[in-house]
């Protein structure tokens, strides 16, 4: 699409970087927090941090849906797999560490674990193999949850059930603001989550927390503009909700998807890896669909797991408290080939993204 090229125009990018430098406060340290693995990938890949003044820092919050799945829920999937149930999951989930082993380890021990591209694929497998007990490991934020809802509502074959590990972004953003020593000055909200939920759920951030909040798209220029909008608000002592990603995000979001979600799920408290339980941050199937709830069907419910292995700093990386390079294991004991923590496993994990973009430096 030529449209795409326009959104990557390098001349505009330099112009925006200049504007950013002119509007950024000169002395105070400014911390802008995004909450999206794809945003982190773009920021790192295009070297956006290097275009910013030294006192403007971009930190990555808990925006990687794979990284934040708690060990206990990986353990549930592993437990089912070892019992002889087939697990269908997204590729990134395979190597995420559970308390003891990952789904990939379970597969090596003979368990049936199969990678799917979408919830639809899981339904297809279930239909094609009526004798097979299949569980779809449904992870992901509001972007992904509607697709699970679509399949549940269609009442798939009874040999399929769902291990729901969906999580919600706004409660995680609220949690970030409660971390005393983090001192966030503005949010860049995730564009794709927002296509579903719309702008409304972010209103509390400027209203209650006086936090400038910008919904941003996924081209490098989208992110630069969003940074500019945030800095402009900060310099003018404003706190408003702004939508930079108007081509995909509306005030009310995707009404159809939201309606399907509210018919299928209810909101419950949920654990996030290394962060503990966050109120109203997870989804659970409604009682009408209880027969599709794998936890109920197989009586598996693991409350506690070992989220963080000794030495791993994922719990601090996930909230942007430290950079991956501040973890003593980064690119030493922990590499994309031999990851230790979930942030190095997922292609949207901050450690993995930094490792990939810094590889040339480690090659020497």
């Amino acid at each position: 699409m030529t449209e795409e090229r326009k959104f990557r125009d390098p001349v505009l990018a330099n112009r925006i970087a200049e504007k950013i430098r002119s509007v950024a406060p000169k002395n105070d340290t400014i911390k802008i927090c995004h909450v999206c693995g794809t945003h982190e990938w773009i920021i790192s890949h295009y070297g956006i941090r290097s275009l910013l003044p030294k006192n403007v820092e971009i930190i990555a919050g808990p925006g990687c849906p794979v990284c934040i799945v708690p060990a206990a829920e990986i353990d549930e999937a592993v437990n089912l797999a070892l019992k002889g149930v087939t697990i269908a999951c997204f590729g990134d989930v395979l190597r995420v560490p559970g308390s003891e082993i990952s789904l990939l380890d379970a597969k090596a021990r003979g368990a049936d674990v199969t990678v799917v591209y979408s919830a639809m694929d899981a339904v297809r497998i279930a239909k094609g193999n009526p004798g097979k007990d299949l569980v779809f490991f449904a992870i992901g934020f509001e972007t992904t949850a509607p697709s699970t809802a679509v399949e549940v509502i269609k009442k798939p074959p009874k040999n399929l059930s769902f291990l729901i590990s969906h999580r919600l972004i706004p409660p995680a953003m609220e949690f970030m603001l409660g971390i005393g020593d983090l001192h966030i000055d503005a949010f860049i909200a995730p564009g794709h989550v927002s296509t579903i939920i719309g702008l409304e759920p972010y209103e509390i951030f400027p209203k209650v927390y006086r936090m400038p909040t910008i919904i941003a798209g996924f081209e490098p220029l989208d992110i630069l503009i969003a940074i500019y909008m945030a800095l402009k608000q900060i310099s003018e002592h404003k706190a408003i909700l702004e939508n930079e990603y108007k081509r995909a995000v509306t005030w009310r979001g995707n009404i159809k998807a939201k309606a399907l979600m509210s018919r299928t799920f209810r909101v419950v408290n949920g654990a996030w890896r290394g962060l503990g339980r966050l109120p109203d941050s997870a989804l659970k199937l409604m009682d009408d669909f209880i027969e599709y709830d794998a936890r109920e069907k197989y009586g598996v419910k693991i409350e506690r797991g070992r989220d963080i292995l000794p030495g791993c700093q994922c719990h601090l990386v996930i909230i942007g408290k430290i950079k991956p390079t501040e973890c003593p294991l980064f690119m030493k004991a922990c590499t994309p080939q031999k990851p230790i923590g979930s942030c190095m496993v997922s292609s949207e994990g901050t450690c993995r993204i930094w490792a990939r973009n810094m590889l040339p430096y480690f090659a020497h």
């Binding site: 699409m1 449209e3 795409e4 326009k6 959104f7 125009d9 001349v11 505009l12 112009r15 925006i16 504007k19 999206c36 693995g37 794809t38 925006g63 990687c64 849906p65 794979v66 997204f90 990134d92 591209y117 979408s118 919830a119 639809m120 694929d121 992870i139 992901g140 934020f141 972007t143 992904t144 509607p146 697709s147 679509v150 995730p190 794709h192 989550v193 296509t195 579903i196 996924f218 220029l221 503009i225 500019y228 930079e244 108007k246 081509r247 995909a248 995000v249 995707n254 159809k256 998807a257 399907l260 997922s346 292609s347 949207e348």
Partner: protein, 77 residues
């Protein structure tokens, strides 16, 4: 995981549509979450179209950017 990729709808068959991810990469996606028509650009995430892209807003975004950057010429630099 949270990545969504724009694609053009070529053909609709009930809940499914054949889309073009540009560069000739075709795929079948589920369109139950959107009201899309042939020719629309949609954002596709994990096999499902999650939103129809608004081309008018895309144009306006580009214009707004140029305005912010104080670029008088509306054409491509």
């Amino acid at each position: 995981m949270c990545l969504a990729v724009p694609a053009k709808i070529l053909e609709i068959n009930g809940d499914l549509a054949k889309v073009d991810f540009s560069g000739g990469v075709m795929r079948e996606v589920n369109i139950m979450l959107v009201d899309a028509r042939v020719g629309d650009y949609v954002l596709v995430h994990a096999g499902y179209a999650i939103q129809v892209l608004d081309e008018k807003e895309a144009e306006e975004t580009l214009m707004l950017w140029r305005e912010i950057m104080e670029i008088k010429d509306a054409g491509a630099p």
